[in-house]
Amino acid sequence: MADLTPAQRDAYWRKTSRLMWTIMILWAFFSFVVHLFAVQLNSISFIGFPLGFYMAAQGSLIAFVVLCFWNAIGQNKIDKEFGVAED
């Protein structure tokens, strides 16, 4: 493996895990939490859509795409910082 000391390796994994949890929490929010309130949100209108319907049809999907790219870019930064990015 790349030349990391055990301490560096732990630090690397801590940062990676923090990014993982951040994204997982946002994922859970857009997958479940928002939709628990679909009935209430439907009384709000957003660009012509009832908001509860909109979030399940488009809003959460956009969030998923953003989260996937965010994860890729964020992890690349961590890899570079620790010198373990591939050439």
Partner: protein, 596 residues
């Protein structure tokens, strides 16, 4: 293929596929002109089905190979954007293309559970699994279980789960291929399935993963064009704006205004409503249960995970997950627009009309057996809503006619549906055959087999599995979308926990993982079979398409408890896990693990 030619091939990919997309557009335009000049519809249907299959077969034959790494992982040269497109086609099946918009038409908000569940799972794939499986760098998903959990027991369990999930899934795809081929070629369903089978095999048999990858990119391009064109056309016609994703908000309002007049008690946009239009906790729980099972299933299905074995490196695997969900998103966020436009059209131009003056498309489709029925129950000569019954699988296929588009667009949609079903069937077939040839035959039965022999066995198994799947599908076992949802639950309960914990929790032991897989998968399978075939009452009202809701937590708890009760994995195994977590550097293989 030498390295230099490979790299010119890769750098030329945008040009090759750009030319291909352009060529396809020219083909559609020529057919459109020919239609205006009187070309019969039957010929147009034939042209779309045969020409597209011929193109896939051509790519499949060009990509033939006798190298193991080409056959199993496409030589690991697939750039992230193209792997994203291939994953999109691999992912979007007959269920997404044909049935999903129809489901949204019939159930409104409840159908959005599929839209959410079939997209959000990629976040799990990208964050928890894909980069680490790529770093692991072997051929199959059971490979990972076999190495991480030291032995053939875990590997075999992995193969069993993979087989059950993927086989259920592939049967549903053969079913979809049968429907489309029989309708557009005018041949019986049972024969059509075997015609489609040839279409599947020519893509995958000679070139394995390499051939499947490059045909899937071609299939993605066709399926996305075919899905978007009719709905963009309709959006422009209704609201003068070619962006259906924005304009269908107005369609939803128009539907809501018509609903009370037609006596609809369950509004299209209403959330968690039962058949009477009242809020229902059972509907509420089934919604999130389905979303969870589909998402976790996404991150467990081997035919998807193995696509990320084909990128050049770990960074590209991560990026490629982003591109995958982007390409999938393009179809999924359009599907609800399809449903809304179709519903508006039916509510405003079909219901309430005199039955002998209905639009032409209604008359055309009501002649196709049982998919659309019109019955004048009260005999007043006017169509009421309950007198109009439409099958969910024909909404997308009939959309071009609903919108009054030329028949060439119907042919295009059929080609798109066929591309979706073929590409998924190919990915699944390869996942099953690779697991049997690599994990069972090579790793367990004959570890000394030569390359030649391994590839021959792989191909024989591929053909065998394909024929059995088509034979099962010809018995019409269940609806497309239901079979697909079962496959997701089976995969989720059996594979998600051992894969994720194997990477993220070093303390996971072999005994823990195996016990978790057996209990989680066993419970899910039991619930599915008992409720479907033995009339067992539902637990908490959860439908069996979300069976993994029970198996998944059981798998998790059993894995953790048994792991803590058994001796921690060896230092070497922990070092191996460490080396998987870091993109750069060699893997620290634990002693005694067999690998190539």
């Amino acid at each position: 293929m030498a390295n230099t030619t490979k790299s010119t091939f890769i750098t030329n990919l945008p040009k090759i596929y750009g030319g291909y997309a352009g060529g396809f557009a020219v083909f559609v335009i020529i057919l459109a002109i020919a239609e205006q000049m009187g070309l019969p519809q039957k010929i147009i249907g034939y042209a779309f089905v045969f020409l597209t299959i011929a193109v896939y077969a051509y790519i499949g034959i060009l990509s033939r190979t006798m190298e193991l790494s080409e056959y199993y992982v496409a030589g690991r040269v697939v750039p992230p954007v193209f792997n994203g497109m291939a994953t999109g086609a691999d992912w979007m099946s007959a269920a997404s293309f044909i049935s999903m918009a129809g489901g949204l038409y019939l159930t409104g908000h409840a159908g959005l559970g599929y839209v959410l569940g079939w997209t959000g799972g990629y976040v799990l794939v990208g964050v928890l699994l894909a980069p680490y499986l790529r770093k692991f760098g072997q051929f199959t998903v059971p490979d990972f279980l076999g190495v991480r959990y030291e032995g053939n027991t875990a590997r075999l369990m992995g193969v069993v789960v993979l087989f059950c999930a993927s086989f259920t899934y592939i049967v549903s795809q053969c079913f979809g291929i049968g429907i489309i081929t029989s309708r557009f070629l005018g041949i019986p369903f049972e024969v059509a399935i075997f015609v489609g089978l040839i279409g599947i095999l020519v893509c995958s048999m000679l070139g394995g993963m390499r051939a499947v990858t490059w045909t899937q990119v071609a299939q993605y391009i066709i399926l996305i064009i075919a899905y978007l064109i009719p709905v963009i056309w309709l959006s422009t016609k209704l609201y003068n704006l070619p962006i259906p994703e924005l304009t269908y908000g107005q369609a939803l309002k128009d539907i809501a205004a018509l609903e009370p007049k037609l006596g609809v008690v369950k509004p299209h946009v209403g959330a968690y409503l039962d058949a009477k239009g009242q809020f229902s906790w059972t509907e509420f729980h089934n919604f999130w249960a389905l979303v969870l099972c589909l998402m976790v299933g996404t991150a467990s299905l081997p035919h998807i995970l193995m696509r990320y074995f084909t990128t050049p490196n770990v960074r590209d695997a991560r990026m490629s997950v982003g591109w995958s969900i982007f390409f999938i998103f393009l179809l999924y966020f359009t599907a609800p627009a399809y449903a809304a436009f179709a519903k508006l059209e039916v509510y405003s131009n079909v219901i309430g009309q005199r039955i002998n003056e209905l639009p032409v498309w209604v008359q055309n489709w009501s002649q196709v057996g049982g998919l659309l029925t019109i019955k004048d129950v009260n005999g007043d000569g006017i169509l009421q809503l309950p007198e109009f019954v439409i099958n969910q699988d024909i909404i997308v296929l009939s959309m071009p006619e609903i919108a009054g588009l030329p028949y060439v667009i119907s042919g295009l949609v059929a080609a798109g549906g066929l591309a979706a079903a073929l590409s998924t069937a190919d990915g699944l077939l390869l996942a099953i055959a690779n697991a049997l040839s690599h994990d069972v035959y090579y790793k367990m039965v004959d570890p000394k087999a030569s390359t030649m022999r391994r590839l021959t066995v792989a191909r024989v198994l591929l053909v065998g599995v394909a024929i059995i799947a088509a034979a099962v599908a010809s018995t019409r076992p269940a609806g497309i979308i239901q079979m697909v949802a079962w496959a997701f639950s089976l995969a989720a309960a059996g594979l998600f926990v051992p894969l994720v914990l194997g990477i993220w929790w070093k303390r996971t032991t072999s005994a823990g993982a195996i016990a978790g897989m057996v209990c989680g998968f066993g419970l899910t399978l039991f619930y599915l079979i008992a409720t479907r075939y033995f009339d067992m009452p539902l637990w908490f009202g959860i439908r069996n398409i979300s069976s993994a809701l029970f198996g998944l937590p059981v798998a998790f708890v059993v894995t953790v408890v048994v792991s803590l009760m058994t001796q921690a994995p060896s230092k070497e195994m922990q070092d191996f896990v460490d080396s998987i977590r870091v993109p750069k550097g060699e893997l620290a293989w634990a002693k005694g693990t067999v690998h190539d």
